[in-house]
């Protein structure tokens, strides 16, 4: 058995994994999926969906109650030492040493993994140049976006084969989020398998494949495009001058399947295809003004909500 890579296996294999906390809290129930080598795989779901539990099991920090999981071919229970030395893990909560400087944190993590900053500098170069001006600053004094970049550098410093990122973009503004995803894309090109969790549904489109997860169950696994095209109801975007009343009125419309606000429009999913004129007439009858109706493209959120309500 080769210690570093096992090219024939998937990077991550999860089979019927279950985890319960106490009596009633079923964090994961019978979760199964695989992540291929070099894949950027997203675990998309709200707080409490089981994302952190799953990632902690894969990082060998938590034991599952039932089921199997392998990372780079290694079994999480038996081969935890190998897994720990060959993965990069970025927990949801910032967990670097606040009192050490940027440079010291990086040096510390390199040493722990028996390597040097120099040895793998090429891997973190793109990210580290942005941190360099602050290399003497204590980690605790960095802004949110910079802390996140440092945490990623520390998780990468030993050139891991698999990177596990638990909600790296939560609470981060859209600019820093976008930059973070650009960094992930570049890492993927360096053949690192990445499993990333996020509550932001719009980030799904940046992944190769995603698992939508809710209350410990996987609702769907597919490419982002596949998830969206599985939404098979006719969908319209509707707006009027009174959004609050519009939502209520659309829900009472007889052909309505669902009506949810989406930005400045309401997405109206229909039970059956009908002419937009019929909806226009219905809304005009309810004294709406400024009525606009146009076809809409389903998004990951439309698909997620549809799957949630089918549960």
């Amino acid at each position: 058995m080769n210690d570093t890579t096992m090219p024939t296996t998937q990077a991550i294999q999860v089979e019927s994994l279950s985890k319960r906390y106490g009596k009633n809290a079923q964090a994961l129930s019978q979760v199964s999926f695989e992540v291929g080598r070099g894949e950027l795989f997203g675990l998309i779901g709200p707080d409490g969906a089981g994302k952190t539990t799953l990632i902690r099991i894969l990082a060998t920090l938590l034991l599952a109650d039932e089921g199997q999981a392998r990372v780079n071919g290694w079994e999480v229970r038996r081969d935890y030492r190998k897994i720990r030395s060959h993965i990069g893990y970025m927990p949801g909560r910032f967990s670097l040493y606040q009192d050490l400087s940027v440079e010291e944190n990086l040096h510390f993590f390199a040493t722990i993994f028996g390597t040097t900053i120099k040895e793998n500098y090429e891997l973190i170069h793109d990210i580290y140049v942005q941190l360099e001006p602050f290399r003497k600053r204590k980690a605790g004094k960095l802004s949110g976006g910079m802390k996140q970049k440092l945490a990623l550098c520390c998780a990468l410093i030993h050139k891991p084969v698999v990177l596990l990122l638990d909600e790296p973009t939560t609470g981060v503004d859209p600019v820093s989020r976008q930059e973070f995803w650009e960094m992930l894309k570049r890492l993927k090109e360096k053949d690192i398998t990445i499993l990333v969790s996020t509550p932001y549904m719009d980030e799904a489109s940046l992944c190769d494949r995603v698992a939508l997860i809710q209350k410990g169950n996987i609702l769907s696994i597919d490419e982002p495009g596949g998830i969206v095209s599985a939404f098979d109801k006719p969908l319209l975007a509707v707006r009027t001058n009174d959004m609050y009343r519009l939502i209520q009125d659309l829900r009472e419309f007889e052909s309505a399947h669902s009506a949810f606000p989406f930005g400045e429009y309401v997405h109206l999913a229909l039970r059956n295809s009908i002419w937009p004129e019929a909806i226009h007439a219905y809304l005009a009858g309810k004294e709406h003004t400024g009525i606009e109706i146009k076809p809409a493209q389903a998004t990951i959120e439309d698909a997620f909500m549809e799957l949630m309500t089918q549960e």
């Binding site: 602050f134 802004s143 949110g144 503004d173 600019v175 549904m201 809710q214 609050y244 930005g263």
Partner: protein, 245 residues
């Protein structure tokens, strides 16, 4: 009509650092006003001044008609506040939280009893009434905190990233509660990192490095920046001069 919020050249400095730099804007009664900006742009500092929690360095502002220098206690009585971090007491039940906040707001006992019934019934939370808040699902917590933040019928409610991490259905139910409150005349001042949510707002301001870099309806902003979404507008405004201070 007197605006719900007015700010004129409102400024806050910490030593040499200007966190909020001469911001000027008005928010009308019943308006849903989105207050956006990158991390560290000065949103929280600005909000703390408007809440009467931080004394401005210079400039003028009034909230619900009260002055942010001299009438901070009156401001606190006339506003509601909810954030993702600070909201409910986890070791109290749902009922006890309502009771507790009712007391804090100085509502009479009869009114509090009425509110407990009204609020729990309105949210359909009967099954959780006597459950500790830490044991109820996050989505319920967020809806409950909003209801509690407005149970004393404040003129203005400040919401600081109220929907982080909640599922898309709950997020929308939450916004429907906001729409409802606004349609009843309450003024909503909200920050969010979800750019699609900024489009639920009547008007949106975007802060960059302590200043208000743009302020208009989402539609007008998209037009002005030739952008297809508010996300694009945000990136165009904040990206060129991003820096660490």
């Amino acid at each position: 009509m007197v605006p719900a919020i007015t700010a004129e050249k409102l400024t806050k400095k910490f030593g040499d650092f200007t966190a909020v730099n001469q911001i000027t804007f008005e928010v009308q009664k019943g308006e849903i006003f989105g207050f956006l900006g990158a991390n560290g742009a000065g949103k929280t500092t600005a909000m703390r001044m408007l809440n009467g929690l931080s004394r401005p360095t210079s400039g003028q502002a009034s909230v619900a008609g009260f002055d942010v220098y001299r009438e901070t206690e009156k401001i606190k009585k006339h506003i509601g506040y909810m954030s993702q971090k600070f909201s409910l007491y986890e070791d109290l039940t749902v009922r006890e939280n309502i009771q507790f906040y009712g007391g804090i707001y100085g509502l009479p006992g009869r009114e509090i009893r009425h509110q407990i019934k009204e609020l729990i019934g309105g949210l359909g939370m009967q099954e959780y009434a006597n459950t500790l808040v830490k044991a109820i699902p996050l989505g319920w917590k967020q809806k409950l905190s909003f209801s509690i933040a407005i149970m004393h019928r404040p003129e203005i409610v400040f919401l600081d990233e109220p929907t982080g991490g909640v599922d898309p259905i709950t997020r929308r139910q939450f916004w429907e509660m906001i729409y409802k409150a606004a349609s009843e005349g309450m003024t909503i001042f909200v920050t969010t990192h979800y750019m699609d949510e900024s489009e639920y707002c009547g008007r949106v301001s975007i802060m960059v490095d302590g200043r208000i870099a743009a302020l208009d309806t989402p539609r007008a902003l998209k037009e002005q920046f030739g952008a297809s979404s508010m996300n694009d507008v945000f990136l165009q405004l904040t990206r060129p001069n991003q820096k660490e201070s």
